[in-house]
Symmetry: C2
Subunit: 351 residues, 2 copies
């Protein structure tokens, strides 16, 4: 299968390589190539099954139509898949392909990977963290068209795409307020202010701020806020302890779906019904949220959109500097009901 080149096409069509080139890049009109010649080239190309060698073209045009996507973690979390998926779709829609790599959070690997991509002349790089965090883009990216995902990088000369965690927090609390909750609302997970994440996680801090603001505006407040890791086990323990101390909450705001899973386990053990005894709302909008029984209402991380928006930003406005906030949609489950008190009142008023 000897590769067909543009020269072959031109020869077969009986025109110059230049003419063939113009036809193939769709500029035969601009360049006033005769209709007949254009047709002959097109036919020859089709018959020969001509496909331009993009490597050669790139060498000439210094555009590879390839974008590098480097992220800290892709395997550990299903979220990453969605980001890649979104980026892929957006890239493909515009004739680009994605060079994907993962650093494991190691900055030496990171620098290495970015160099490898740059050596292959990528048109730009998307640098993604899977969880929003303060992080400066690596040096190697200086002077390269780049867009950050999930990075808080004050003073960085790039665009940064982020979920709107604050509004997400507000949405979660609003969902509870809307069904009548005012008291006994408890947050599980908190700021994630732990030994290994002193000061908390950006997502945690910002969500909590949104939650507290909304509750405050409604004249309510959190009854408890428990700081713990964002994994199921810790949700289980937190809720279990709460119940064993006799502090049954009316509603739980779990900072991740995984925490909600743990909370469900603890509530289930004590025979408490969701949503009638306890309402639950969580964050992430992962598959897990829909696997729980009843499905938990979850404020979703817009991973797919993070990917598409980053690619489009990179391609459309490579010079943009600043944050691009992406809203977090509420994925409704069946885990929220009116609090017992309200139900009582309603029942009474019906009589």
């Amino acid at each position: 299968m000897p590769r067909v080149t543009l020269a072959d096409v031109a020869r077969k069509a009986g025109v110059s390589r230049t003419a063939a080139s113009f036809v193939m890049t769709g500029r035969s009109a601009d360049m006033r190539i005769s209709e007949a010649a254009t047709q002959k080239v097109l036919e020859a190309a089709a018959e020969l099954g001509y496909r331009p060698n993009l490597t050669a073209r790139s060498l000439r045009t210094s555009k590879t139509h390839t974008i590098g996507l480097v992220s800290d973690v892709i395997a550990t979390t299903p979220f990453a898949g969605e980001v890649i998926h979104g980026a892929l779709d957006a890239a493909l829609a515009r004739g680009h392909l994605l060079l994907v790599a993962e650093t494991g959070g190691d900055s030496a690997v990171e620098a290495d990977l970015i160099s490898e991509m740059l050596d292959r002349q990528v048109d730009g790089v998307i640098y993604a963290a899977m969880h929003t965090q303060e992080r400066q883009p690596p040096e190697a990216l200086a002077g390269v068209p780049a867009v950050l995902i999930n990075c808080i990088a004050p003073g960085s000369q790039t665009a940064c795409v982020l979920p709107d965690e604050y509004e997400g927090g507000r949405a979660a609390a609003t969902a509870l307020l809307d069904s009548g909750h005012r008291d006994g609302i408890c947050a599980i997970g908190g700021h994630h202010d732990l030994p290994h994440t002193p000061g908390g996680l950006h997502a945690g801090n910002t969500r909590m701020r949104g939650i507290e603001d909304v509750l405050g505006e409604a004249g309510a407040a959190l009854s408890f806020s428990i700081e713990c890791q964002y994994e199921p086990e810790f949700g289980y323990r937190a809720v279990r302890e709460l119940l064993e101390r006799g502090q049954k909450p009316e509603a739980l705001i779990c900072l991740t779906d995984r925490l909600a899973m743990g909370a469900y386990q603890a509530l289930g053990e004590k025979g408490l019904d969701i949503p009638h005894d306890v309402s639950v709302v969580s964050f992430d909008g992962s598959d897990l949220a829909s696997w729980l029984r009843p499905r938990v209402t979850s404020v979703a991380l817009p991973h797919y959109e993070l990917g598409t928006i980053a690619v489009n930003a990179l391609l459309d406005k490579p010079d943009f500097i600043g944050d691009i906030l992406v809203s977090m949609p509420v994925r409704a489950g069946e885990s929220i009901a009116a609090p017992s008190e309200t139900r009582d009142r309603l029942r009474r008023s019906e009589q």
Copy 2:
């Protein structure tokens, strides 16, 4: 930041481009370049921060050190992340990068994507399905170095990397036999022989065969085998119905971790304890398995290895034709115990 070229390096070092090229590609010894010249080139390159333009090199050598990875689905399943992760690590270890794309199962998109990759002169393509299935590699791959993942493609002229589902099935059943189970063993999920997957799924069929063979060899057999979709909800329903018909199993073999999650929900509702009332073993080895309480013992899909092995096969033996089976390790949880009968017997013999 004007890009530094090899010519710049050569000029600065005071040698010819040829000499510089030999030094940079590590063949100064072969080519008997003087030690002094070699040093000068190296220094110049370092000072200038020279990085070879791989696009240009590729045009000359027709090797891009880039591999295409096209898979049907990457977002929907965390598994895909692991495959990519494995492929990435293996590729990087050998100086290659990955062009990643997803087809969504659409064969037109597939052909398109593969063409795009081929146009970029990838050195080879890895074609991955996320779940083992009968599937011929697309036409576009003919004559291209390729390795399949999770595809059953009889007569295909490529290598195909697959999990050893049969041995996986045997391992699951063996885990139960080893702790004394003989009776009341029930399989949930089955062959996945459903309207939209007539004849079942390869993984399901093969796992079931392994399970049945092992049980048969031990003079045992499945008490029930329930055919259903591999999602939590169906596991929940299946087990719930079983229990409501008064057919409490001694042990459950769930064909996926998601089914195990559903089974846990149903068992929990009826107040049955895992593993003392019912033992559970499942397949996939996903995070979910470790999130359940108690963690379920799960026969893991070796996704990471599927990725690394595919890349290495592609690079090392591009002409290999046939299947490469990868074993499925058992990830032990705490979901298996001796059956009540056996425990009784043991207790009696202790007295």
